[in-house]
């Protein structure tokens, strides 16, 4: 059990963590999520007594960490895989940590076996890969057979086999009744591993809920519907019919429609009834990653901008920056910097606007050009990207997603 109350940490003028209160309970894997620089590691260091909080306090099993009688027997931690002396062999590294808390040397060989480093136990850790370093760090955390385990980005640098192993291993540790607290910036990883989520951004708590709740609050399925191109009349007809039947319809960049609240057969029936031909009717799912990014969008400290390469091109007619608020209107950068048309660089697309944002029947003109994407439809047919949601730091969207959609989402996640 980890309990933080009003945890605050300031480094000079910068507040790394502000008024953070949460509990991490035994018997579950608790995921600790946040963008880079959001204060995850600072919080971990405060839990481990390495950093003194400016205000508030945090206890592990009822004790402040530095008052624990034998810390490694109660709390195991992997903070940084590279936090070892490279000149020491893996075995000697673990041995000196074991001796520090009176753990017999036999245990060192045991944990080396658990993490699969027996064969390199006598090699100096300088030559270890990042994945081997992570395994060594996990071995160190396991030395004392502790009740509470903290892992900071444990799957960084691991191969797929290692990721799977860590995932199952953490679940197993939790199933034994241990408290497992794992930080990550990958929602996708946490969705597979964690039972409970604590999400922070800019050092403040954004969400503290079970993964199940997070999914039902933040993820919704939708259908993509495409009517024949060059016939906006059909599209408007279908939009009207779908809205009338209680569905929410949002136009997408490429002229397709995003429909929520109606099952696929019903959409097909309605289209048939309205005498509209369909070119596409496909099920889609707003992923947890999107939900998480939407939640932390306003809290991202390090955001990349489009590489304009203006400094390299002295006279380039037409090279006027025309990005949106975040400097990357979909479609536009690809033309500017000379990527082949249709190329969508990973990470350039803005997370789609949550459907819940628009109340049913809101004045939303179907087919109207999107505000920040002039002429985009033909430029990026492969990317159903939406314009940036206007206000940053959206609060968790209202729990309006239908329950059956949530269920199918969880099944898909398996």
């Amino acid at each position: 059990m980890i309990e933080a109350v009003g945890l605050t940490k300031r480094y000079g003028a910068k507040t790394a963590v502000y008024n953070l209160s949460f509990q991490v309970r035994p018997g579950a894997v608790t995921g600790f999520l946040g963008p880079n620089g959001s204060g995850k590691s600072t919080t971990m260091r405060m839990i481990l007594g390495l950093d003194e909080p400016t205000a508030g306090h945090v206890t592990v099993g009822g004790y402040p960490f530095r008052k624990l009688p034998n810390a490694p027997r109660q709390v195991g931690a992997l903070l940084d895989a590279k936090a070892v002396h490279g000149g020491r062999s893996a075995r000697q590294h673990l041995l000196c940590l074991a001796q520090l808390s009176g753990i017999p040397a036999r245990r060192v060989d045991e944990v080396l076996g658990v993490v699969g480093l027996q064969n390199v136990a006598r090699k100096r850790s300088k030559g270890f890969s990042l994945g081997m370093g992570q395994r060594l760090g996990i071995a160190a955390a396991l030395l004392g057979d502790p009740q509470v385990l903290l892992f900071d980005e444990p799957v960084n640098g691991l191969d797929p086999e290692g990721i799977l192993w860590v995932r199952n291993f953490m679940k197993q540790l939790a199933s034994e009744g241990r408290t497992v607290f794992v930080s990550s910036h990958l929602m996708s990883e946490m969705a597979l591993t964690a039972d409970h989520l604590i999400v922070i951004g800019r050092g403040q708590l954004l969400a503290d809920m079970s993964v199940k709740d997070f999914i039902s609050y933040n993820s919704a399925d939708f259908a993509r519907v495409r009517t024949p191109e060059g016939d906006p009349g059909q599209r408007e007809k279908l939009t009207a019919a779908l809205s009338e039947a209680g569905g929410q319809v949002l136009p997408e960049q490429d002229g397709a429609l995003r429909v929520t609240g109606l099952p696929l057969p019903r959409i097909s029936d309605l289209a048939h009834g309205a005498d509209v031909r369909l070119w596409e009717l496909s099920p889609h799912q707003a992923s947890l990653e999107e939900a998480y990014m939407r939640m932390t969008q306003g809290a991202v400290d390090y955001r990349s901008t489009v590489d304009e390469r203006a400094a390299l091109q002295q006279q380039m007619p037409g090279a006027v920056p025309q990005g949106g608020p975040y400097g990357h209107a979909p479609g536009a950068p690809a033309q500017q910097v000379g990527f082949p048309p249709g190329t969508m660089l990973p990470g350039y697309a803005e997370p789609p606007a949550p459907p819940q944002q628009h109340a049913p029947g809101a004045p939303y003109t179907p087919g109207a050009p999107m505000p920040s994407a002039p002429g985009a439809p033909s430029a990026a047919p492969a990317a159903p990207a939406m314009p940036p949601t206007a206000p940053p730091a959206q609060p968790p969207a209202a729990p309006s997603a239908p329950a059956d959609l949530t269920k199918s989402d969880t099944e898909d996640a398996r």
Partner: protein, 315 residues
């Protein structure tokens, strides 16, 4: 943007990991109070995580003590190469130069000087090795980040520093004293002709234990400075200043009449002069023990400051 995973997740069904087998079997037993912790909705057979009580290790948890920390620090200091190298070079310098000087001098040189003298020349260089090792014992942990692992494994920070200081001091004192004793014995064996002074026990003590103590105290001071500065190069540079400046500055200080006394005192307590006193290379010098006590005082003060800072600062 944030991650490259977004593209991937615009696919209809997010790619998920391969199915995972259950770590352990067992039917779900969920007490009502554990309701918020439903099994994770991923991975085929969900596990009854919330059904188990808090884990307690079958092995009893014992309170740790200084002995544990000493064992750990002993493992640490002997398992890195820098220890072998610095101590090896120190022994090579002290014993090598000492034996060389002893071999290249004749009995007549020792009519007024003690036969322990040859050890002196090696210590001037050897002390720099001890300084380096003293700094590295602690700054290598800061440099590699190992200190965070150490202080997580032992949040009793002062105990860690105490163990480091004791292990390092014992090791360096033993090594330096043994090397010096070897030189003193060899030199006395080589020069035992008529007219050569038999070294008094006072002289022997100063040239072995005294000089060994001086060098290892200097190393301990380096450890304290390293703990305060937390940076190898910075701490070694600072210690070079401590060793060399009192030997160089007096030359300038003595140009001015008002600072002459200060310059003389500084010279008297400078490291080469203190070692020279311990080896009795000149009748006019004192026994060297006052300098040793002064160094012990400075080291104690630095250690106290190191303790305070270690306890107070974030790691």
């Amino acid at each position: 943007m944030t991650t490259p995973y977004q593209q991937q997740y615009q696919a209809p069904v997010p790619p998920q990991g391969p199915p995972q087998g259950p770590p352990q079997g067992g039917p779900p037993q969920m007490p009502p109070q554990a309701a918020p912790h439903q099994p994770v909705p991923s991975g085929p057979p969900s596990q009854p995580y919330a059904g188990v009580g808090p884990y307690t290790s079958p092995i009893p948890v014992r309170q740790t003590h200084l002995g544990n920390a000493l064992a750990s620090e002993w493992t640490k200091i002997k398992s890195v190469r820098s220890t072998i190298w610095t101590l090896g070079v120190m022994v090579a310098l002290v014993a090598g130069i000492g034996l060389l000087v002893a071999a290249s001098t004749s009995d007549s040189d020792y009519e007024t000087l003690p036969t322990t003298l040859p050890g002196f020349f090696g210590t001037l260089l050897g002390q720099l090795c001890i300084v380096t090792l003293g700094v590295l014992v602690i700054t290598s942990e800061y440099g590699t980040g190992m200190i965070r692992t150490t202080l997580t494994a032992s949040p009793q920070r002062s105990r860690v520093l105490t163990a480091k200081a004791l292990v390092f001091f014992t090791l360096s004192f033993t090594t330096t004293t043994l090397a010096l004793a070897l030189v003193a014995l060899a030199s006395a064996g080589m020069h035992s002709g008529p007219g050569v002074q038999e070294p008094s026990s006072d002289q022997l003590l100063g040239a072995t234990v005294g000089a060994g103590l001086y060098m290892s105290l200097l190393g301990l001071l380096s450890l304290a400075v390293g703990c305060m500065l937390r940076h190898s190069a910075g701490a070694i540079t600072a210690m070079l200043g401590v060793v060399l400046l009192p030997a160089i500055l007096p030359a300038f200080l003595m140009m001015s009449d008002s600072l002459r006394d200060l310059g003389e005192k500084m010279q008297e307590y400078s490291s080469p002069q203190a070692l020279a006193s311990l080896f009795r290379i000149d009748e006019s010098l004192n026994s060297g023990w006052p300098q040793l006590w002064a160094l012990a005082g400075v080291t104690a003060a630095a250690m106290i400051a190191a303790y305070v800072l270690l306890e107070k600062r974030d790691v």
